[in-house]
Symmetry: C2
Subunit: 138 residues, 2 copies
């Protein structure tokens, strides 16, 4: 069972030159996960995405442009992480409720996942999430 | 041995709502590759990146923001692909020389790869690339 203390922020090397930047994310060597799926989300300033937990999926969030405040919640404690540079990768293990608050207009967040899409892996209702956490503790 | 005719452009579903967009890329089911590594590159307008071929690596390029013209070359023929929307994914098999010309300022390109980084997999010199293609044909 994971808690907000199990969330990790990795600072990856960012290669800068006159043309722009390059940041690389290796599933196995950087995060010890099998990389299966990537999705990319844009958010206008003020929008909120996420608002769900996963039963089995691990997610790695990277803010490629703009600023995103991620609120993680294990049912007992919360932790906020501000993502505002593409070299910061936030690893959220399964069982954690997460919300992404997009601060800047046209922010872009990339999410690396270790499993294919499966709707039954999502918990989209907060009361149901608390009940799930309660059952896990038993 | 791959030719520019083996390059593919996939049009993936893009989910739009009031908050922005979401596009997902599943290594196995969308591209039939094992997803191992993702890198993200930004380019100012007028900059050129890439300019190399891979011996074994397959790359999938997605332009998340802005516009990028990708020139692919198999030593005999060239093919240009304009990437200007995140739902277009350009799959470049190994053995193809590729250059990315960034058109708009602050363009962002995400590259999905099926192998970890390995400098010995790169061919960075065009004359060497032509010699490599010639040897492959024998």
């Amino acid at each position: 069972m994971n808690f907000v203390g199990d969330i990790r922020v990795f600072r990856l090397p960012k290669f800068l030159d006159k043309q722009g930047f390059l940041v690389a994310f290796d599933g196995a060597s950087d995060f010890k996960i099998d990389l299966r799926r990537v999705f990319v989300v844009s958010g206008h300033g003020g929008s909120v995405r996420g608002k769900h937990a996963h039963k089995a999926l691990t997610q790695i969030l990277v803010c490629l442009r703009g600023t995103c405040r991620v609120i993680c919640d294990d049912g007992e404690a919360r932790r906020e992480v501000l993502l505002d540079t593409p070299e910061d990768a936030l690893q959220i293990p399964p069982g954690i409720w997460a919300e992404e608050h997009y601060i800047d207009s046209e922010s872009i967040v990339m999410v690396l996942c270790d499993l294919p899409f499966d709707e039954s892996d999502y918990i989209r209702d907060y009361a149901e999430f608390l009940a799930y956490r309660h059952r896990q503790r038993e």
